[in-house]
Amino acid sequence: MAELVLQVSGLRVLRDGVPVVDDVSFALPAESDTALVGPNGAGKSTLVAAVLGLLPRQAGEVRLLGQPLSPQGRWPRSVRAQVAYLPQSLAVEGRFPLTVRDFVGFGFDPPGPRWPWRGAERRRQAIERALERTQCRALGRRLISELSGGQWKRVQLAFCVVRPRRLLVLDEAQAGLDAPSSERFQQLLLDLRRQEGWTVLQVSHDLEMVRRSCDQVLCLNRQLRCSGSPDHALSPQRLAELYGPGYVPYQHHHAPLS
């Protein structure tokens, strides 16, 4: 049986006294790619935030690599270092005086002060390797505010891959990308996941991508409505239950022009 990287049981999270996530349980086997899908307001981002310890939970247990998340939302430092997270958007407005190389370097540094003379060469090599592996080598000296949407997302993956980790959590990381950029990002994510042995949990609205790329799907609408393989969880009947009876999945056809 595969090692379980993340185990969530009976998770309940309230916002303004209202349960946004209620009695949710699931587990992520090592090196799996799991999609969290559901309508807007279903509690997907709240669930992710609670799992990461960013939001208080009212009930339930979260374990990462066997270690429990404390009631105050803290992981042991060694466990915390095994997690990378990419939110939907990062606030880069106007000219932002931070180069890609410096940004990726912050992904390498542990929390707390960094003394420039300690481990500088190891840090430099890790940054270069991360840039190489995410096809960002040529971007190293660019400002993060000068990047296109697709480049910026790849640089964020470099930020995650600069240090070995076990769990990568993505909250609609592909939002705002055009189809080719999204495709390239997903392929890169797939390659890195295989090479790094990452376990991935990604919130997504792109059901076609989920169908193609993910091993497991969690359908959330406050509670876990269904879970399983994409074929099982994304069947028309399940989707109608999740999104409402009027929901018809869009099918893209290439019909010859008459």
Binding site: G53, L54, R80, Y85, F96, D102, F106, V169
Partner: protein, 275 residues
């Protein structure tokens, strides 16, 4: 020419020496904290804090206590209150700050109108009196500068991640609330201590202008912070010298030099720095 001849005499004056040192430290400190405040979109916070500080000063006068002693606890309390309001209220931060600082200003004017024995000069409160800076004031500012520098060096990674996204920072081990609070309190103390030199109306310029100018010309984060510090300190010294030589008010002279520095940075960014 006459100005150049007058310079040695001006530099020999003890109060001018103290003012130059005070300007250098205050300007550098404003540039240091401003570099983070601007990116964290706290520019208006420092402006509101400066304006609201007038209430602290007025309360000090009303109670017969040295206004400078009231100012620091008042500013810290104000910062904590605003931080709570921003987190708990669902109103936009700028609207909330506007409500708080205009109300503080109104109370300050009412409090000052109740005092008929106040001999101070309102002009000094509004635009500062850097020429009246004393050695104890300088020691306090220097200590604060060391504290601020130490904090920012230790928390540089945390500050950058917090600028980009609170949740990103939290997921990578940054204690979001602690750092947010620490920075706001530090900014409040710096604003309160600098007000004597700079005045309530001009304090935000010390925080915002050098950082914005540095942002236009810097590519690396460390260079950006350093440029902001150097611009803040050097503009203050140049402004004070200009003020001393032309007999114009010192605080406004410093801000005019800062603005000139900003224009130069803008020009530099258009002509030299790659887009």
């Amino acid at each position: 020419m006459a100005a150049v001849e007058a310079l040695p005499a001006l530099l020999a004056l003890p109060f001018m020496q103290r003012a130059l040192l005070g300007g250098l430290l205050t300007g550098a400190l404003g540039g240091l904290l401003g570099s983070v405040a601007v990116l964290r979109q706290l520019s208006f916070f420092s402006d509101a804090l400066g304006h609201s500080a007038l209430l602290g000063i007025s309360l000090g006068i009303l109670l017969g206590v040295n206004p400078t002693l009231v100012l620091v606890p008042f500013a810290v309390l104000f910062a904590l209150l605003v931080n709570q309001l921003v987190q708990r209220s669902r109103l936009p931060t700028d609207a909330l700050l506007n409500i708080v600082y205009s109300t503080s200003l109104a109370f300050a004017v009412v409090a000052l109108s109740l005092v008929d024995t106040y001999r101070g000069n309102i002009q000094q409160l509004l635009f500062g009196d850097i020429l009246g800076i004393s050695w104890p004031d300088l020691w306090v500012i220097a200590g604060l500068a060391v504290l601020a520098l130490g904090y920012l060096i230790v928390s540089l990674r945390a500050q950058v991640l917090l600028i980009l996204n609170d949740d990103l920072a939290g997921a990578f081990g940054v204690r979001i609330s602690a750092h947010r609070l620490a920075f706001i309190v530090l900014l409040a103390v710096v604003v309160a201590v600098s007000i004597k030199a700079v005045g309530v109306l001009l304090i935000s310029a010390f925080v915002v202008i050098p950082a914005c100018a540095a942002r236009l010309v810097s590519r690396r984060f460390s260079t950006y912070v350093l440029t902001s510090v150097l611009l803040g300190g050097s503009c203050a010294v140049l402004g004070l010298l200009g003020s001393g030589l032309t007999n114009l008010p010192s605080g406004p002279c410093v801000v005019i030099v800062q603005f000139a520095g900003f224009l130069l940075a803008l020009l530099w960014s258009r002509l030299v720095v790659p887009a």
